[in-house]
């Protein structure tokens, strides 16, 4: 049981390290701003800290009636994913709408490809 739990910890910390690397690469390529990088740095460092030292979460676990720290982290991760998923959905919808408007406008202004 203890070995399995340690295994989860290793996987979780490795994943946090990988996500930090991805965030850093995007920061270096100017795909995300410094503040955004610092936000993700904080998120993944905090995640790794809670995974390695789950006891610090005990007071919160007791208040929320959650048995294991990993459960709390899983619930939090799911909530963040749901939020990001919705944000992506709204963002893509908005981009699609803008693109459709632009493409249709260009087609209507330019019958038979007259304008170059």
């Amino acid at each position: 049981m203890v070995e399995a739990f340690l295994g989860i910890q290793i996987v979780a910390v490795s994943f946090a390290g990988f996500m930090l690397y991805v965030a850093f690469m995007h920061y270096k390529r100017n795909n995300i701003k410094r503040t955004e990088f610092l936000f993700w740095l904080t998120v993944w460092l905090a995640f790794a800290y809670f995974v390695l030292f789950p006891k610090v979460l005990d007071p919160i676990l007791a208040n929320l009636f959650i048995v294991r720290a990993m459960d709390l982290l899983s619930i939090t991760a799911f909530m963040i994913l749901a939020y990001l998923g919705f944000q992506n959905h709204v963002g893509i919808k908005s981009l699609q709408k803008d693109m459709e408007k632009m493409v249709r406008k260009k087609a209507l202004e330019n019958p038979n490809g007259k304008k170059k």
Binding site: M99, E100, V103, R104, A107, L108, P111, G113
Partner: protein, 217 residues
């Protein structure tokens, strides 16, 4: 009555030329609009109006571009026809007759021949029954793209679906305003060309989800 023919096209240059030459016997070329919906090789045709989407937006968006252009040219009505040759242009005069008789929407409903794949047949009938239950309107071939619409009806049922949901959405919106618009359907012949074309099960699920939205708003 000034009637335009709108043909949305995506990678159909070969079949499209035959479709156009047949359609020109019934609708003058200056009233035929081909909307090239981002084909890999841009559509090149003479004697008709070609509007090009620089990227593929979907059939619904292409139909809307064609209709907007036609009504911008003071058309009274537009007829939509597929570009792959599955619709017979000899049916065009029947649409003109029905539009001239005062109908706002005219649906060409395909007779399902015996060799129609069972999945397609069941899917089509299920869609018709579902739309009838939810929107109170029955069109026997809800997914047929061969249909006509007047300017008055276009303003009422103007769709938002950019892709294959367009046909169903048009009927659903008509169902919500059926007291304001006159509609008719008549049987048409269909030539099945490619069994891998058209609506997929994933499209059908998306349309089902969207229909709840159309009902609410």
């Amino acid at each position: 009555m000034k009637i335009f023919l709108v043909i949305p096209a995506f990678n159909e240059q070969g079949r499209l030329e035959k479709v156009i030459s047949k359609a020109q016997k019934y609708i003058p070329g200056k009233n035929i609009i081909v909307v090239d919906d981002g084909s890999r090789t841009p559509v090149r045709l003479s004697g008709v109006i070609v509007l090009r989407h620089v990227v593929n937006l979907g059939k619904g968006a292409a139909m809307k571009t064609g209709a907007d252009y036609a009504f911008g040219q003071n058309a009274d009505a537009v007829i939509f026809m597929d570009s792959d040759g599955q619709h017979d242009p000899t049916e065009l005069p029947k649409f003109v007759t029905h539009l001239s008789s005062g109908y706002d929407l005219v649906f060409g409903s395909r007779r399902m021949p015996l060799q129609t794949p069972i999945v397609r047949l069941l899917g089509n009938k299920t869609a018709s029954i579902y739309i009838n239950l939810v929107f109170g309107i029955y069109v026997s071939d809800i997914l047929s793209g061969f249909r006509a619409i007047t300017k008055k009806a276009y303003l009422v049922v103007k769709w938002v679906s950019p892709r294959y949901g367009v046909e169903t959405e048009m009927v659903a919106r008509l169902g919500k305003h059926k007291n304001r618009l006159k509609y008719i359907e008549f049987p048409i012949e269909t030539i099945y060309i490619d069994k891998y074309k058209g609506l997929t099960i994933i499209d059908a699920v998306k349309i089902f989800v969207s229909s709840i939205w159309w009902k609410l708003f």
